[in-house]
């Protein structure tokens, strides 16, 4: 009930209040944007350090993958700083490396915005890529726009690889094997086994519903069908599923002897296969299988002796038995890896050395040509660099080529160490076929 005398005043008061609130909001918006500009305070100083920008998922579902794959980001920065820093030709001396890290909360839009911040506000010298193919691809457009050379460690899709091969993506580089390379490698190994050990039985291909699973399975299926292999089972399963008994009974019913599983669920498949006493003669997991001793042991409780013969494709990777230097590198980084996976073996998993080598290429490029982005990109495209894996070359659209390692398919043969079994020219040991039966079967 409003007092008729004051109706006009009441209306006026309403309007003033609304207006005040609106003005306050506008001022607050402008003020917070202003604060964003100065928070955190990063004064533009004369160059006394090299700044690396990292916008990755430190929280949210993707942080799991960051923990697994991106450890080398901090390792390489620490290692270079331990030697005094990164040598920058323009200044004729080594500058320490610092980094600015933001958390995108597994939100792709936030990752893009934060990358823009790193580029336009923080003006970092180098950028380390986010995790997963999708995020990397989305960020590619930013890297191309601002000409930042970036090595996307976890990118593995055919679409981007094709673009890199055609030269449409000039500043983005991949490290892992593209799906067609994986298809070729799997065909190569199966063909080799077929020639040495006789005809192979039925093949079953399982894949999870995510980028790696779909593309790898489809590439492998295509390549194998072309070569006349029999593939009665080709099934997809939910992402991060843990219940494989139904699928295993399906494989048993179809008399499948060769199992290829494209996804991150390899260890769970192994566990269920052991419980089911299902013993395929050939078991290939990837791109994430029983690769870390910690994962196999800690979470699933089977020992590495039990998984002898299981294979993993992830390419390109190196076996730590290849040479003494690599062995020592692995030993040194064991200490860093141990707390992450809470295990006493803690060997970095096979791609760690390759990722480290790829990042070394980036740093070596800077040491060669300086901080000019165009020159770095040109160098990464065309030159080879000295890394822990010998001379390494980033081939646009293909997996990294290294002197040591470069294996795409590996196999558990001894405790703690995976041996490279394919391609033959990169192998560190001969493939074991058929896979020994699970202990206790």
């Amino acid at each position: 009930m409003s007092n008729p005398l004051n109706r006009k005043a009441v209306a006026k008061m309403k309007v003033i209040i609304i207006a005040v609130v609106v003005v306050v909001v506008v001022v607050a918006a402008v003020a917070s944007l202003y604060l964003l500009y100065y928070a955190p305070a990063r004064p533009v100083a004369p160059k006394d350090k090299v700044v690396v920008g990292i916008a990755q998922s430190l929280s949210g579902p993707l942080s799991v993958q960051v923990t697994m794959w991106h450890q080398c980001y901090k390792w390489i920065i620490e290692d270079y700083n331990a030697e005094g820093g990164l040598y920058v030709p323009e200044y004729g001396r080594k500058l320490p490396i610092t980094y600015i890290e933001y958390d995108d909360e597994s939100d792709i839009n936030k990752m893009l915005t934060l990358t823009e911040r790193l580029i336009t506000v923080d003006k970092v010298d180098l950028i380390f890529a986010p995790v997963t193919t999708g995020f990397c691809y989305a960020a590619f457009s930013l890297y191309e726009k601002y000409h930042y050379p970036v090595i996307a460690l976890t990118y593995g899709s055919q679409a981007g690889a094709e673009k890199m091969r055609k030269g449409e993506l000039k500043y983005c580089f991949q490290v892992l094997a593209s799906p067609d390379e994986v298809g070729e490698a799997v065909f190569g190994l199966l063909n080799y086994i077929r020639e040495r050990y006789g005809p192979l039985g039925n093949i079953g291909i399982l894949h999870h519903v995510d980028q790696h699973g779909i593309e790898h399975a489809s590439a492998i299926y295509g390549r194998l069908s072309l070569a006349g292999f029999s593939i009665p089972v080709y099934e997809s399963y939910p992402f991060m599923a843990t219940e494989f008994k139904p699928l295993i009974s399906k494989l048993k019913e179809a008399n499948v002897e060769v199992v290829i599983l494209c996804g991150y669920e390899g260890p769970f498949f192994v566990r269920d296969a052991m419980a089911e006493k299902y013993n395929p003669k050939f078991l290939l997991l990837g791109p994430s299988g029983v690769e870390t001793p910690g994962m196999a042991f800690g979470a699933l409780g089977f020992t590495l002796d039990q998984v002898r013969g299981v294979m993993l494709y992830i390419g390109p990777s190196a076996s730590y038995t290849e040479n003494e230097f690599l062995k020592q590198w692995a030993e040194k980084h064991k200490e860093r890896f141990r707390p992450i996976f809470r295990n006493e073996y803690g060997y970095p998993f096979p791609p760690s050395a390759t990722f480290y080598a790829a990042l070394q290429c980036l740093f070596e490029a800077v040491e060669k040509v300086g901080l000019d982005k165009e020159k770095i990109a040109e160098a990464l495209r065309t030159e080879s660099f000295d890394t822990i894996l010998g001379k390494a070359r980033l081939r646009p659209g293909y997996s990294i080529q290294t002197e040591i390692g470069g294996g795409i398919i590996e196999q558990w043969q001894n405790r703690y160490i995976m041996e490279v079994v394919w391609p033959l020219n990169a192998k560190s040991a001969d493939v074991i076929y058929p896979k020994p039966p699970w202990p206790g079967s």
Binding site: N6, V15, A19, T113, G134, Q211, E215
Partner: protein, 333 residues
Amino acid sequence: MSGARGRALSLKGCNSFLLAVLAAILAFFFLAPLFMEVYYLSVLRNSLLLAALTMSWFFFSGTTRYVSLGSAAFFGTGLYFTALYLEQSVLSKHLPVLPLPLLMLMAGLLNFAIAFVVGLISLRLKGMHFAVATFALGVACRGIFDYVVSDFMGTYYTHIPPFSPEVTYYTITVTALAIFLFVFVLYRSKLGLALRLIGENEEVAAHLGVNTSLVKTLGFAVSSMCIGFTGSCYATIFTVTSPKLAFDYQFSFLPPMMAMFGGLGLFYAPLIGAMALSLLRELLGVTLVHYFLLTLGAIIVLIAKFVPEGVVVFLKRRLEVGLGGRLGRLSSS
């Protein structure tokens, strides 16, 4: 319709001062690319998008109190429809190229239709059942798209052609402002009034002659249509999308969270709340990198406990009490 529009637009007691402030805000948004750097434009446009999502959600769920946790389903459908069409038309050249506004309209209408059907099924349920049903819808969409993409498309990601940042920014700003205006007009219309009546007391509304089923379904469909528009906009930001990215849970959780943060008692409270919370998220995310979400969670729990009517509504009432003491209690807007 123009008559209703005219009535709806003639705000009681509106005067030129208010219009001037609104004009200043509009000018700020439209001229921003001239004086702001790319990063701040991105922050601004993300806030506008979230505010648009929030207001679309508020139009139905805030008024009728039927909490929908299924915004992700409509958002993702809008985004996926637009992304797929753009990929097939621009990148693969299988379909004719259509202008983006037309695509967005189609995405919106698609969502309207889907929401209408879903509404007919699920709006018979009260409260929590509706919330769970819509949440399940959001997750189901993702599962179904996962299966379809995996078994029929051969690649998990759908690639989208890039848009220039200016086009992106203006598309988003115009869409967000259009949604605000659209929701505002409808809120003041008969439909909005009916929705609010249902929210106060559904039985009474039915007795007053409101066709509650039709009104609820229409309201839900309109709300979802706007969410679909917003989703469609996102296609200009990303060059790639996938079921996991498009149907992310956060699009179901953020609109209700932001609306409740601002408060559901006033029309503009969710809008201001969404803009403020979005900017706050950006600010905290950059300064408190590792503990940011913890802090945000704590803030939300504190607000739920001590300021349950919403921050903006609370501030408004404080202002009222402070300034209007002499004039007696103001009638609520």
